[in-house]
């Protein structure tokens, strides 16, 4: 039965040109951006035009001054864009070839408080993601479990195994450190158990999308609740944590795949966090208008910079502007929204066998938050329903409905 459930899923076809060899190519510009649509109030620690070393703090959060945003490369601060209320839009950095990187003092003892402080000051904290609601964890939060994602089934996602190869020791050190941050289990979600790793719970992951998404894995093995938050982190970042604990400096790089139909080659690039998407696709785009998307073709969004948590860039040809439909047809189709959803096998598969798709979809589209929460909506984020969004053709946009539901539940839980 478990085997059957793990093998459900779809394989959406996203055309992409042949791949070329991996390359290390940091872009000339990079930016620090807030995760998702959240309002992130920050306090700047540097001025425009100031030089910063790799890993040096650039800003800190107003609500949690312990957590800092760090420069992903030796750079000069180019532009600081804040909205009223010091809400972060973006901090643009220009790379400087001759610059040094920050080395942190390692904690003498193995106490969790020191490790937490090191993670917060080194910038690793902002690579964590907390469910429910998909936010950065608070500085004092203690999760009920932590999931390490050593699998990714999005179309053309980078292989987490490549990040682990040759870094098993760092990975084990990182896992050991993470296990100290939680009272619950450390879940390692991977297709096969990672050899040489003890004291963790292995969660098997099937080959098809959406099995390799943290939300689907957690929904099945360890659901999140407001009073029992669950963190997830990518395996590559755990390797970096291990290296931080060994050397005192945190690598600010990320393996990113650049794919899509508007390219001449599919790239796997090791670049800095928050890299410039135009730099990543430079010299590989086909002539003609195209869209740069941070994230996969299913769950990404148009962007200039690689968003926090994203490990993929997709370049799609810009479709010709559609001819405006006849006024009568447009009145007819827009009046019938939300469009009804017909339960088909495609819909069942796009839930990954973990959740009753139609019941969740109905609860979300009528705004029945109580039922949606009972069906496990709190373990999920928009990206987990992106495949469902794809299957139903984007009307009634399950991802947007889920975000609205999560916002309402968060408001209620916070009030």
């Amino acid at each position: 039965m478990g085997f059957l459930v793990r093998n459900t899923g779809l394989a959406p076809v996203v055309p992409t040109p042949p791949a070329v060899a991996d390359m290390v190519r940091p872009t000339e510009e990079a930016a620090l951006t807030p995760p998702g649509r959240a309002d992130l109030r920050v306090e700047m620690l540097v001025e425009e035009g100031a030089p910063v070393a790799e890993g040096a703090p650039v800003a800190r959060l107003r609500e949690a001054p312990e957590v800092v945003l760090v420069a992903p490369m030796p750079a000069r601060v180019g532009r600081i864009a804040l909205r009223p209320g010091r809400k972060l839009t973006e901090i643009v950095l220009f790379r400087e070839a001759a610059g040094d990187s920050v080395t942190h003092a390692l904690p003498e003892t193995g106490e969790p408080g020191a490790l937490r402080a090191l993670m917060q000051v080194s910038g690793l904290w902002t690579r964590l993601r907390q469910r429910p609601f998909g936010v950065w964890p608070g500085p004092g939060d203690r999760p009920a479990a932590i999931a390490v994602m050593a699998a990714d089934t999005r179309p053309h996602a980078p292989d987490p195994g490549a990040a682990l190869a040759g870094a098993e020791e760092d990975f084990a050190r990182g896992c050991h450190a993470l296990a100290g941050l939680t009272d619950g289990p450390l879940l390692v979600c991977a297709p096969a158990p990672v050899p040489g790793l003890t004291g963790v719970r292995h969660v098997p992951v099937g080959p098809r999308h959406p099995q390799g998404l943290a939300g689907i894995c957690l929904h099945r093995s360890f659901p999140a609740r407001p009073e029992h938050p669950v963190w997830d982190i990518a395996a590559e970042d755990v390797v970096h944590l291990g290296r931080l604990l060994a050397t005192g400096s945190l690598p600010q790089t990320r393996r990113v795949t650049v794919s899509g139909a508007a390219l001449t080659e599919t790239r796997t690039v090791v670049c800095q966090i928050g890299a410039d998407l135009r730099g990543l696709t430079y010299g590989a785009t086909r002539p003609g208008p195209h869209r740069l998307i941070s994230g996969s073709a299913l769950d990404g969004h148009p962007a200039r910079w690689l968003a926090p948590w994203h490990r993929q860039v997709t370049v799609l040809p810009e479709a010709a502007p559609a001819k405006a439909p006849h006024w009568f047809l447009s009145a007819l189709t827009s009046s019938a929204r939300p469009r009804p959803v017909i339960p088909t096998a495609a819909l069942d598969q796009s839930g990954g066998g973990a959740l009753p798709v139609m019941a969740l979809l109905r609860a979300l589209s009528v705004g029945d938050d109580e039922t949606a929460v009972a069906l496990g909506a709190l373990s999920l984020l928009e990206e987990d329903l992106a495949l469902l969004d794809y299957a139903v053709g984007g009307a009634p946009a399950p991802g947007a409905l889920l975000r609205a539901c999560l916002d309402r539940v968060a408001e209620e839980a916070g009030a």
Partner: protein
């Protein structure tokens, strides 16, 4: 960012494609009379879709053709124009369109039409189905299940429960042609059958179980009449079956995760 194809009309088109072998076989054996009935059902059903489009801005759907085909194949014979028009209108409007169109309805419009005609005009004989038409239900089910537009659980549950009933000695052999055709045309509709995995198997089993009950205790009823009644009751019970399946799912989750 990219969009799939599985919207309402795609599903309706695939269902039509699945039913095409059966429809063509039925037209081949029925001749001009069958064609006339189908055309009448299509015109009436399409007309109501048009009226709801103009009056309530509901986009018309190809599902109207699915209902028209089912009604043309299974409606009682020699009804006359007025009764047939009345029945099809009742089914299309009160079975589907007043709920907001296909995808929001509770019962298949053809089931409503046929039940209405059966209860309203009991004197008219129900049709006998030609065996080749019945066999054409097999490819219809296969295409429907393979493309994912017909729920496998409903068909599987009905076949399993029906086979079990026959093995237990229920006198239902005369019933199976009508049962198979109604199963493919109306019970295995993705909208009005159950939508959870367990609910679908229960839904199919309930349909076959009701048929077995009727075979044992409902004297002087035609096979099509029994199958239509069973389809109506099975569709009405589908939400309850889903609710039960979801309650079971929640209970199992609670024991596993503690909440």
């Amino acid at each position: 960012m990219i969009r799939g194809l599985w919207d309402r009309e795609t599903v309706a088109l695939l269902l039509l494609a699945a039913l095409l072998p059966m429809a063509l076989t039925w037209l081949w054996f029925g001749g001009v009379a069958a064609l006339g009935r189908l055309a009448l059902a299509l015109v009436i059903s399409g007309g109501w879709h048009l009226i709801f489009m103009l009056a309530r801005a509901q986009p018309p759907s190809l599902s109207g053709a699915l209902a028209a085909l089912a009604v043309a194949m299974l409606a009682p014979e020699d009804l006359g124009l007025v009764r047939l028009v009345l029945g099809i209108s009742f089914g299309a409007v009160f079975g589907e369109l007043v709920f907001g169109g296909w995808g929001r309805n509770v019962v298949h419009p053809a089931t409503v039409t046929l039940a209405f005609l059966g209860f309203g005009f009991p004197a008219f004989p129900w049709p006998d189905l030609d065996l080749p038409v019945v066999w054409a239900a097999l490819p219809a089910a296969l295409i429907g299940v393979a493309t994912g537009v017909m729920p496998l659980g409903v068909i599987g549950g009905a076949v399993l429960a029906g086979g079990l009933a026959l093995a237990l000695g229920v006198p239902g052999v005369a019933l199976w042609p009508a049962a198979a055709v109604v199963l493919v045309l109306m019970v295995a509709d993705p909208v009005t059958s159950a939508h959870t995995a367990l609910g679908r198997w229960l839904n199919g089993a309930l349909y076959a179980g009701l048929l077995a009950l009727f075979a044992l205790h409902w004297a002087d009823a035609a096979p099509v009449q029994m199958a239509v009644a069973a389809a109506l009751l099975a569709a009405l019970a589908a939400p309850a079956l889903d609710e039960a399946a979801l309650a079971l799912w929640s209970a199992r989750r609670r024991t596993r995760h503690g909440f």
